[in-house]
């Protein structure tokens, strides 16, 4: 689904260039649950933005569903992003003047979809995140956990196949955080590809595949379908066995964590 090949990105920070991504190659299959961790400045957010088509690499190639994205113009990239990728942010990024409903329908509005279709889809995703009764509330009338769930609803309203979460629980207390993770993992079980960037070791450990980044390179890659743990993740390794049934077969640790979290919720 996602194939990065020798992606490089350098930022100019003051006088000295900062190499945010150095020859990063990565394969992600549909339905994977993947966490990217690493110290600040290790390039994990840059990688997330690269995958999310928000940023362009200086060099290297990126295929999204066999589409060579570096050849697309801004318009097409925006389109691809809107249709296929949902974003979730640490600070929610809901627009305060808009109600929950209006926030959620924004991606569909940008895509030019008719109001009727938007109503149905928004009602659908609101039910999915358990906020059907909050549709007409403005962000200042909602709690942190609810805000992030609205943001998730917005991220999935276009039925994307890839969900990118940047510190999704960073601004939440543990209980709301657990609610949010619950929703995200349910979505992953339903087949969506989920990538989270986090500092939170506990949250990172819940993913089936763990990527650790240091100095713009992939330092460790564990639990994925691609066997090579090194950053020298050669493109030849990508045509690995097609592991489509794999996502539903969640590893043990994830399963064992979930009940305890949901217990916290009910307390």
């Amino acid at each position: 689904m996602i194939k990065l090949e020798k992606i490089n990105k350098t930022y100019q920070v003051g006088d000295s260039p900062l190499r945010a991504l150095a020859d990063v190659s990565l394969n992600i299959e549909p339905g994977e649950y993947l966490s990217i961790m690493g110290p600040s400045g290790s390039g994990k957010s840059t990688l997330l933005n690269m995958i999310g088509l928000l940023d362009r690499p200086d060099s290297g190639r990126y295929w999204f569903d066999q589409i060579a994205t570096e050849e697309l113009n801004e318009e097409r990239r925006a389109h691809l992003r809107g249709e296929n990728i949902g974003f979730i942010f640490q600070s929610f990024h809901l627009i305060n003047r808009l109600t929950a409903f209006e926030n959620i329908e924004l991606p569909m509005m940008l895509a030019g979809l008719p109001l009727k279709q938007r109503r149905i889809a928004v009602a659908d995703v609101l039910a999915m995140v358990g906020l059907s009764d909050r549709a007409s509330h403005k962000p200042n009338q909602l709690s942190g956990g609810q805000l992030q769930r609205v943001a998730i609803a917005r991220a999935i309203v276009m039925r994307p196949r890839l969900l990118l979460a940047d510190e999704p629980t960073g601004n939440l207390d543990s209980r709301s955080g657990a609610e949010v993770i619950d929703v995200l993992e349910k979505l992953n079980q339903d087949g969506i590809t989920l990538i989270t960037v986090t500092h939170d070791q506990k949250l990172g450990d819940r993913a089936r595949r763990h990527i650790r980044m240091v100095d713009g390179m992939i330092d460790r890659d564990q639990g994925g379908f691609s066997v090579t743990p090194e950053n020298s993740d050669m493109p030849e390794n990508s045509p690995e066995p097609k592991n489509s049934p794999e996502p539903t077969k969640s590893p043990e640790p994830t399963k064992s964590h979930q009940p305890t979290k949901s217990n916290d919720e009910t307390i």
């Binding site: 957010s45 840059t46 933005n49 999310g52 928000l54 940023d55 801004e74 318009e75 990239r77 925006a78 389109h79 992003r81 809107g82 249709e83 949902g86 974003f87 942010f89 600070s91 990024h93 627009i95 305060n96 003047r97 808009l98 209006e102 924004l106 991606p107 509005m109 940008l110 895509a111 030019g112 008719p114 917005r154 991220a155 276009m158």
Partner: protein, 402 residues
């Protein structure tokens, strides 16, 4: 993104930032209103002059001795010609169909005195028709009689100012005055009336044309005024005048015919140019409004960085972001223009009620011009903020790092 959705989206932005929206609206409204009001002031002045002109002398043709090629502008005061224009010429012109009245004029300067006071005045020798053609009325006494056309009567009609300076507030009618070397009786005093066609009728003396000929010892006319019928074609009459003169002057076409239309046209030109200049000046206020919109939009862009970053992340292209911000400006300008136009027309209506004699009249192009300038500046000045918004790095914007 659908247009309707964008309108709804922008409306929500306006509702959220009421004060800011109101201020920008006001700036545009003031600009548009000032363009319309100031141009209607110019156009009103033009209409006023037009009406004054037509009130002044229905339709006048002026025949001057000597050939002049100049059209428009004020009539030349003196013409030099080898062949004089005579009273007989004037009478011949009077027989042209379509000419209602002929007023031959002999002009000169004389000294007029009464008891110890004396004064140099412009003296016009003419006939009763002169008063009709120039639409002059007497304030007291009578005008020149019909007999004054053919006989050198010793009578005079005084301008108001001349009367005042010679007689003060005492009665002038029936008094004798000395004009040059003759004694004449004052039969009338002209009504107070402003300057017209470059002659101050208050500071003037009118005597019978034959008397003036003798006084100045000259058979030549200074000019001939012709009052033509409103239905007549002034160009055709001009042609006929020249024919008559050519016949009488041995084939020489040695006169110049000036129509009031041509003078009016000159005034019209001047005032129209003035109105355009006023419009250009008032457009500056729209320019200022445009700059205000740009500044506030720039502030808005920096305040809404996170929103812009978000919109990009959820699928908005740079073009859509640009479209959103430019659309916002255009919506503001539409609303501001609507307010400004209504305000301007309300004020014009109010003015018309207060000063019916000087109605403000917006020229037909005022509203389109104001709108054009408003939308032009709005568009130009919103492109920069919109571009800045579109160029925003979504990653940094979302992290609040810009």
């Amino acid at each position: 993104m659908k247009l309707f959705d964008q309108l709804v989206f922008n409306r929500q932005v306006f509702l959220r930032h009421r004060v800011r929206t109101l201020l920008m609206l006001l700036a545009v409204a003031i600009g548009v209103a000032s363009v319309i009001l100031l141009t209607s002031l110019g156009e009103g002045a033009r209409g006023y002059v037009d009406r004054e002109f037509s009130a002044l002398g229905n339709r006048i043709l002026i025949v001057l001795p000597g050939r002049k090629e100049t059209t428009g502008g004020g009539p030349p005061m003196y013409g030099a010609s080898p062949r004089d224009l005579t009273l007989e010429d004037a009478n011949a012109l009077g027989r042209i169909p379509g000419v209602l009245a002929v007023a031959p004029i002999v002009a000169g300067t004389t000294t007029i005195s009464h008891s110890s006071r004396s004064r140099e005045v412009i003296t016009l020798g003419s006939t009763a028709a002169f008063f009709a053609v120039r639409q002059l009325q007497v304030g007291a006494g009578t005008l020149l009689s019909a007999r004054a056309e053919s006989e050198p009567l010793a009578v005079a009609v005084l301008g108001v100012k001349v009367k005042r300076e010679l007689f003060g507030s005492s009665r002038a009618l029936g008094q004798w005055v000395r004009v040059g070397d003759r004694r004449m009786r004052v039969v009338g005093v002209l009504e107070e009336r402003g300057e017209s066609l470059g002659l101050d009728m208050r500071d003037m003396l009118v005597i019978p044309v034959r008397t003036a000929e003798q006084l100045f010892d000259s058979p030549g006319l200074f000019r001939i005024l012709l009052d033509i019928a409103p239905s007549a074609d002034s160009d055709k009459i001009k042609e006929k005048i020249l024919n008559v003169i050519r016949k009488r002057h041995d084939g020489e076409e040695d006169v110049t015919v000036i129509s009031q239309d041509s003078m009016l046209a000159a005034f019209d030109n001047i005032l129209a140019t003035l109105t355009m200049a006023i419009a250009a000046i008032s457009s500056i206020s729209l320019l200022v409004a445009g700059i205000l919109i740009m500044n506030i939009s720039l502030i808005s862009v920096s305040q809404r960085r996170q929103e812009i970053g978000l919109l990009k992340a959820i699928g908005a292209s740079s073009r859509q972001i640009k479209q959103l911000f430019i659309g916002e400006s255009l919506m503001l300008i539409s609303m501001g223009s609507a307010v400004g136009i209504s305000f301007a027309f309300a004020l014009i209506a109010l003015f018309a009620g207060l000063w019916p004699s000087f109605p403000l009249q917006p020229p037909v192009w005022a509203v389109p011009a104001a709108l054009l300038v408003a939308f032009g500046t709005g568009l130009v000045f919103s492109i920069m903020p919109a571009k800045r918004a579109a160029a925003l790095d979504p990653v940094l914007a979302l992290r609040g790092m810009l």
